[in-house]
Symmetry: C2
Subunit: 141 residues, 2 copies
DNA sequence: GCTTGAACCTCTACCTACTGTAGCTTGTAG
DNA sequence: CTACAAGCTACAGTAGGTAGAGGTTCAAGC
C-alpha cells in the first residue's frame, strides 16, 4: 500500500491534486490507516496514471471521467471512446488554427515596427486598430 | 456620453466584463449620472477597444496593463512594447508546438484503433501507457 | 405627467484545474 | 521515546470572466 506522497511521486502529480481528484469523484475514496492517512493500491496507481496521461494530451476532466466510465465496460464498443478522442482532436486543431493566426499577426507587427518611440510603434498602432491587422481573430478563445 | 450597454455593443464586450475591468483597475472609474449609472466618453471607448483587441491577440490582462501604461508615454522608446509583444509571440509559438504534438498523437491513436470493443481500443491503450505513445508531452501546460 | 419595462446597479457565487497556506496530527527512523 | 517529515482538513487564491438575485433608474409612449 502506498502513502499519498509515494503515489504522487510515482505519477508526477502533486499531493493536493490527488486529494482534489478524490474530492471531485475522479478517484475513489481510498482506504485509511487507523490514524486517518490515505493508503493506495495498484488500481489507484493505474487510474491516476491514466488521468495524468489524458490530461497531458489535453483532455478535460469531464472527458476523462467519461473515458474512465467507458473503460470499465470492456465488452462494449469503443465507438464512444473514439468520439471523445475525435472531439478532442477537433478542439486541438481549432486551437492551433487560432494560434497560428495570432503568430502571423504578432510577427508582422514586430517586423514592421521601426523600434523608435512609443508614438510611432507599429505594435501599439495595430493593437489600437484592428483595421491595421490582417489576422482573422474574431472568433472565440 | 455612452451608457455601459452601448459601450458593450460597440466593443463586443459583455457589460459584466466592462465592470470587471473597472474593478481590477484596467479601465478608469467613469463618471456617473445622478442616479448612479456609468457614463463613458470616447477615451474609454478607445481604451476598451485596445484591451479587447489585445485580448483577441492572446495578451494577458497583466501584459495589457503594461502596454497601456507604456502607451501613455508617447515620447519614450517603444523597446519595452516590443519586448512584451515578443514575449507573447514566444508564448504563442510554444503553445502551438505543444498542441501540434498532441494533434499528432491523437491522430495516430484514432488511426490505429480497430473500432471494435473497449478492451482492444487503441485510444484507451495509449492513454493507459505513455510507452505506447510517441508524443513528447512531458512539459507544462 | 405618469407608467412601464428595458437597462442599470451591487453583491455574491460559479467556472476549470489546480495550487498554496495555516494549524494541527500521524507515522517512522534512529 | 523523541524528532520531524509527511500526513490531515479547511479555506483562499489563480485567470478571465460569466450568471443570477434582488433592487433602482432612465427614457419612450401615451
Ligand atoms: Zn514598437
Ligand atoms: Zn486584429
Ligand atoms: Zn477505439
Ligand atoms: Zn504519452
Amino acid at each position: 500500500m502506498l502513502a499519498i506522497g509515494t503515489l504522487a511521486k510515482r505519477t508526477g502529480t502533486k499531493v493536493q491534486t490527488i486529494r482534489y481528484y478524490e474530492q471531485i469523484g475522479l478517484l475513489p475514496e481510498p482506504g485509511r490507516t487507523e490514524g486517518g492517512q490515505r493508503r493506495y493500491g495498484n488500481a489507484d496507481l493505474d487510474r491516476l496514471a491514466f488521468i495524468r496521461h489524458a490530461r497531458q494530451l489535453g483532455f478535460t476532466l469531464e472527458a476523462i471521467r467519461e473515458l474512465l466510465n467507458l473503460s470499465d465496460n470492456p465488452p462494449r464498443s469503443c465507438a464512444e471512446v473514439d468520439v471523445i478522442a475525435h472531439r478532442q482532436l477537433k478542439e486541438v486543431e481549432a486551437r492551433i488554427a487560432r494560434l497560428e493566426a495570432l503568430r502571423t499577426e504578432l510577427k508582422r507587427m514586430l517586423r514592421e515596427c521601426s523600434r523608435e518611440t512609443i508614438s510611432d510603434c507599429r505594435v501599439l498602432e495595430v493593437l489600437r486598430d484592428h483595421g491595421a491587422c490582417l489576422a482573422d481573430h474574431q472568433t472565440g478563445a
